[in-house]
Subunit: 200 residues, 4 copies
Amino acid sequence: MSKVEQNKLKKRTALLDNAFELFTSKGLNNTSISDIVSRAGVAKGTFYLYFKDKYDIHNRLIARKTANILLQATGALHEHEDIISVEDKIIFLTDYVISLLEKDKTLLTFISKNLSWGIFKNVLINSKEETDVDFRHIFLELFRNSDITYRNPEVLVFIIIELISSTAYSSILYNEPIPIDELKPYLDTSIRQIMKGQEI
Amino acid sequence: MSKVEQNKLKKRTALLDNAFELFTSKGLNNTSISDIVSRAGVAKGTFYLYFKDKYDIHNRLIARKTANILLQATGALHEHEDIISVEDKIIFLTDYVISLLEKDKTLLTFISKNLSWGIFKNVLINSKEETDVDFRHIFLELFRNSDITYRNPEVLVFIIIELISSTAYSSILYNEPIPIDELKPYLDTSIRQIMKGQEI
Amino acid sequence: MSKVEQNKLKKRTALLDNAFELFTSKGLNNTSISDIVSRAGVAKGTFYLYFKDKYDIHNRLIARKTANILLQATGALHEHEDIISVEDKIIFLTDYVISLLEKDKTLLTFISKNLSWGIFKNVLINSKEETDVDFRHIFLELFRNSDITYRNPEVLVFIIIELISSTAYSSILYNEPIPIDELKPYLDTSIRQIMKGQEI
Amino acid sequence: MSKVEQNKLKKRTALLDNAFELFTSKGLNNTSISDIVSRAGVAKGTFYLYFKDKYDIHNRLIARKTANILLQATGALHEHEDIISVEDKIIFLTDYVISLLEKDKTLLTFISKNLSWGIFKNVLINSKEETDVDFRHIFLELFRNSDITYRNPEVLVFIIIELISSTAYSSILYNEPIPIDELKPYLDTSIRQIMKGQEI
DNA sequence: TATGAATGAGATTTCATTCAT
DNA sequence: AATGAATGAAATCTCATTCAT
């Protein structure tokens, strides 16, 4: 990478990092482009060389952060060769993601309600851009190699993703209706039951 | 009610109704108080006699609309005396709510991701303000009268509410991952399975 | 006084008292008529039955408070029959006023820069309205009965009033350039010198 | 100075000059930032690039104008080498300032009651910013080089400043209690008397 | 006399975006 | 590629005043 290329990347990263800090601390609405550039230490006009507007940088951040979580979770799964059934693998992944979000509540606040199907699917499809990993391939293989066949794996993943992302938000951030530690067994049981209901 | 009181109610209602129209068509961010008052045909200052700011009226609308949906669903359930088990009742309620949202996509867009636990619980607790119906009482009776005991009814309702609200949004509005008609059987099965998993 | 008259006076007094509280705590600019009436416990329209606007009530308060200070000071002087010369009487009055303002800094903040010639003269002329005491007469007698004749008593009083009111403000409230206790001897000397300079 | 710097100075000056015109003709309260920018021919947002709010620009103007008056008065004194005693110098300065304010009643209205100790001291301390002249040094030298020693030069200057600024206002603008021409001898005498009273 | 809901002009302030340097 | 001064539309919110009850 040339020096010019390096400098450009440095600016882009500074903008992304500082935007993330501001979005999580002040919220999307109360963060202005002025805030972002002054924190990032670049000129106002520079912002528009890299991003279209506030929502553009916001979307890119969600994709980036979501991909990063998936990267960690699938990476961790890879190291547990003893987990064989799809059901156990899904439980492992959901537990892993929940524990990540539990540790990083700022991150949870940020992707919170956004880690839903739209973004998730987008990350699956375009993951190579951000992470060089093809998550779609990983998930397809997961179900293809299984002894048990599921009626509709995509719907199954969809339901589980939505369930986890929305319950985790309330439970981790506000302990509502109960803290995440107490909620986890209910979630695990629910997920296993949902999967059982789709076995063919 | 005195003439003055009637007039006040008329103004408040005009503000709420027109704010709803604007929030659903343009979104919260792109709706200004100027928009609301000019549509409602009242002066700008009048807005501040009834609401603190844009977010205040927004929250009140969510509560109002949510309470209204619950009112309809529980009312309909009341007319089906042949539905006896809690499981069947919950399925009836969720199906009914989904069909309401399906018919009124504007309403779905509005409460969409907002029909989550925080608001829902608030509606349960404060429902009398808006509807004169005590939903909390209704739900408690539902489980109390059941032959089957559930480990934690509150957690059960929480999980189901979150599941329904987040999946319905994607499916009804964007047919993602599949249209709501095709999704419904999966959801019904999932809910029944989740409930079975909590039977004692 | 009839009951109606009593009630009216009660309202007027409530408005004056609460306006004073607000003017001294928030300043004239940041005090609205809404603030005044809600503190006074009367309706907004009632304000306009008693005062023209914010500035009207403000002016009346200054006159009222100024007259009250003069009333106390001249009253105190009356009890000291041993003070004979005009010079000593003036020094007594200024010292007395300063000590009053020192004790009541809120009052000082309020009349501060306003206890100047314009208002003062107005109080002298119209004092009967507020206090039933004719200050003008008192001051005229003061100089008429003196053995020493002064070139221009009105100018003399003017210069002293302006000197006292503007120096007291800075010294009492901010200890600038020195605290009032240290400043007093300088002021007394200055006033005596100014008077000596006008003896004929 | 670069073209950009020149342009910035031009805008800032335009804002200051036009704010002064408006403050003196309509008063601080009745002047809006909209008024200022439209008169100055700049955009509303530009105002906020140079000043915090209306009160900020007002304060800067007072300091600027006060410094300018002092600059003229001390400059004029410098050209009168025949004036030797401190007393004569002070009388010269006060007379000079009074004659300036007499000629420019707009200026008098503006700084009027504001040319008091707080602002004055601030100008003395920060004068270099606005005028490149160190007034504090000038005043200190004035007393240091004198044959006569005064008890407390700072207090002396304080008393004189307050006396002049408050009496000039009433006399020049309203001829109250008498016109400034007639008042001047009284003031001169009073100042000389005050100074004599502080000689050691 | 007293009330207080309603008004709507207008003040302050922010901020995305442009463009000359 | 980078800058940051300038813009001006637009949003929020206040508040003196009126007037029907």
